[in-house]
Symmetry: D2
Subunit: 310 residues, 4 copies
């Protein structure tokens, strides 16, 4: 299955499992991939920001790609953002050779003007080769690069291999509407739009025209259900399920410690053996763990998948 403008569903953003001493935890890579498959996701994105990608060296990154691709038949997207195009190209081409389906590129924080942003993606596309489909990551909150819908349209138009938007502008609902409007008025070819931001607005993003989610929420099975409910027009049920998760989801969505929360819950769900991050990383205090446990307990009253024990 090719990643393309028609892609729909849930592509989970996978964390990178480490052991307590910072080494990669290969057994947990396997169990995590299996966990995601069992949740019904449509694909996986690895080596994203949440995947602690910059903390891996070049060899480790490629080893991870190979391990994940070798473990699953689901399509895998590889984050290849890098400070320079040589490293980006190396990882992109090696990943595709290893069996990945597409790559994802975020803009470096130094970009400011519209032309700088458009120029950057033209160069990036040239560097990795126009034969590799790529996902454009739009994440101003963390990357401090603001792309207008018009800039996204220019990037899509100038680079045929740009097939998908990882949408996590905030606020971003109007942006989805505007991009879909560009498609309607014929000024932009269709692209797939998958939404991030931990899923915080997924309930409305689907109604605005998103194709699904690309985020790392620790209950990807909920995302799968919400996307399906939205797709078949069951708006109220989609909101009911979403709202049940929202108190915990919001907690997980905190910048800075969100990944610690997420890994902790994934550990509780058996997806990974250890919730450690490589340095510099965040750690949950005992009080924070208690808060998470409390939220899960409350959630479990409405969604039994959150019944995870003490």
């Amino acid at each position: 299955m090719r990643i393309g403008a028609q892609t729909k569903g849930v592509y989970t953003i996978a964390p990178t499992p480490f052991q307590a001493d910072g080494r990669l935890d290969w057994a947990s890579v396997d169990s995590m991939v299996d966990f995601y498959a069992s949740c019904g996701v449509d694909g996986m994105t690895i080596l994203g920001i949440m995947g602690e990608a910059p903390k891996l060296d070049a060899t480790e990154a490629l080893d991870l790609v190979r391990r994940v691709v070798g473990r699953t038949r689901l399509p895998v997207i590889v984050g290849v953002s890098a400070p320079g195009f040589a490293a980006m190209r190396s990882l992109a081409r090696a990943s595709m050779e290893a069996g990945a389906q597409a790559v994802m590129i975020a803009p470096p924080p130094s970009l400011r003007t519209d032309d700088q942003i458009v120029g950057y993606f033209g160069n990036a596309c040239e560097a990795i080769g126009g034969d590799i489909p790529f996902v454009l990551q739009d994440y101003p909150l963390t990357l401090s690069v603001v792309m207008t819908p018009q800039v996204i349209r220019r990037i899509v138009t100038e680079n045929p291999s740009c097939v998908m938007l990882k949408h996590e502008d905030w606020p971003g609902l109007e942006k989805i509407s505007q991009l879909r409007g560009f498609q309607s008025d014929g000024s932009m070819r269709p692209i797939s739009i998958l939404c991030g931001n931990g899923g915080l607005f997924l309930d409305f993003e689907m109604a605005r025209g998103a194709d699904g989610a690309m985020t790392g929420y620790a209950f990807p099975d909920m995302l799968v259900d919400v996307v399906k409910l939205a797709a078949c027009g069951d708006r109220d049920k989609a909101h009911d399920l979403f709202d049940a998760h929202l108190p915990y989801l919001r907690y997980e969505q905190q910048q800075g410690i969100g990944l610690a929360v997420r890994k902790y819950v994934m550990m509780k769900r058996g997806a990974i053996a250890c919730d450690a991050q490589r340095k510099p990383g965040s750690v949950l205090s005992p009080v924070a763990r208690g808060e998470v446990d409390y939220l899960l307990e409350r959630l479990s009253l409405r969604d039994p998948r959150a019944r995870l024990g003490g």
Copy 2:
């Protein structure tokens, strides 16, 4: 009632009501103040970031202070953040003369090092005069100034007139715990901590030791209830009420368009006559209004105060 380290409860952040043409809407100032009083808030903060303070000129700002103070017996805090100390001093002293109880100061975005931040508040305090109690605003997401708990302790220690923290770091729960820890170990004198961020974490902030909320959520009556429930230890009930509001609260909490949402709902609640902002402002699309209406409708099933008609 003096604002001081012992202050508890809900201080609502008030928007500034405008007419459609951008003129101040004095009748709505009155009705808004009455609305807040009827919600049971403990005080009001005007001319904050959400109050579009920088869009008023010096005369308008002071007129607003006088109008609000003249309308209510509740304590009023006035945001006096300004690019320079002369304007800050002018507004601070005139506001106190007009009957305000305290002022609030945010750091300018250019500050970087710990010493720059501490130095700034020392200068600000000297400029307005040490006799005016002030609230320290800690809001890195918008202001891009990051204050560690240690920096806050230095500011509190060096400036006796700093009596309260408007806490809206994100994430921020551990910060509250750390500051309360400083009080426990005797390294910082007590201060009042009221939380912002639209209330997004109020349920847990209270358990961490916050004294209440200082935010502009369009249902301050809910904030009042949650703070009371938390204060009397009714944790589950506090969460139940909070969770019911969370789907809408999260929507209102979006950067950039949050104020448009808030004013729209306050207009629906009869607090103000018009939801216009002065330029540059954000406007709700018809689709967005529909989303808000839908959220309110769902909320009204659990909290009748959200039953606001079409």
Copy 3:
């Protein structure tokens, strides 16, 4: 004499003279204006960034405008940059009524995309009124707003009252060439381009097509000479004079302490009585003063105007 697209020469950026205790020093305002006139400048810009404008309150700012305008027949441009349009409008209109010839507007640091920047100046122009000629300030190093030549063209095209660019992008030589190219190819109407950055590239800026300088270098008489020499094609002589000043000019051009250097030398030249800044300001250490004195002494061997005594 109207400020317009045809304006040429040297418009000095004037500091605001304070007394040691922070009060405005009106006598020094007068002597400073006289000093500038004696240097042969073509006009003055007051209340710019270097004029510590944000440190004045609204009343002081307008008093300063009146005092300067009342003291000279030279055209005066007033910096009216403000966090909001109400204050900008108030100062702009009152300044023009007082006899100023134009205003200057810098973009707020929060602007990012091309459309945000263009939109801002459209709103600003509407706020102050299209009858007031304005100078567009392009100063990315300090303001962190990056305007491409295309964005400047859009602003110029959409706002007929935009008649001048205060050019201080860095690097900026190609930008001048591009803007003049827009005029040549008919895609932009002519504007005046006066250059800032302390004059650090004035020698080449003139050859690129600049109309002169708008900067606060403590020897505006040198700027006047260089602009004249360049205008009559005496390139080598222009560089000779410029190079003689460069060691000191570079020292004065340091961010953060440049204003302290400048006021110190203006005090030595008798233009102002005191080199104090309002808080927060920078202060020269005794070692730094010694370095400045040494540079002036060396300069005086080639330009007698720098012979200022101990």
Copy 4:
């Protein structure tokens, strides 16, 4: 010769020579190293910001280290700044094994508070190993991380392997004085301070207590002379030579296009065969080349080393 707190002199920052098509130009690496040796420099720093380090992939970076180290007996410092510690460690350890003498580390732009900065260097030092001497790079203009002298002292004190500061804060003269003051009052152990910023303030930095220069100015032989003249107390002569270079030096020191200027002049001096940069890079316009040629011609009247032909 070990790099350590006693290190003095000129460590040139070396660019990375590329061919026109973007491939590494190994012959030019050799000729460049020979050129630097002939200029009398005391050492070289490779893979710095100006060395386009992020544009090389991991293999190329290490190949460059080996080539340079194999070509010279001068001590070589390797920039190992990286988005993560795994890549930093890999390059640092492999570089030392290859014969490098020390590494250089710049802080990532996301750091804000004093504690974050100090913590980062503690982690970095732990990652590369305490046995590798490292140079702390302090370059706020480009990196947007502001380190107070107190923060530098903490880093030096907590990490015995921090032996040198690459000083390029701007303004920075007082900072050198403060750091040397810390050494005098016994609160900080001695470190070597070499200055960057293209040499723009080298004349005064030496008098403030710097040990020399670490910058990539295209005439390192001038830097060598100025450092020697300053070291033997010949202040006026040092300034005379420095001032002769300043008009061109200032031109080379422009952000963004400075490297293009530098490579162009190094090509003219025969150090490298081609002045190309890898994408994204800057290119000199014909007008800019003419400006540089003009500046060199003027310089050659005072320093024959600048007589480089058409």
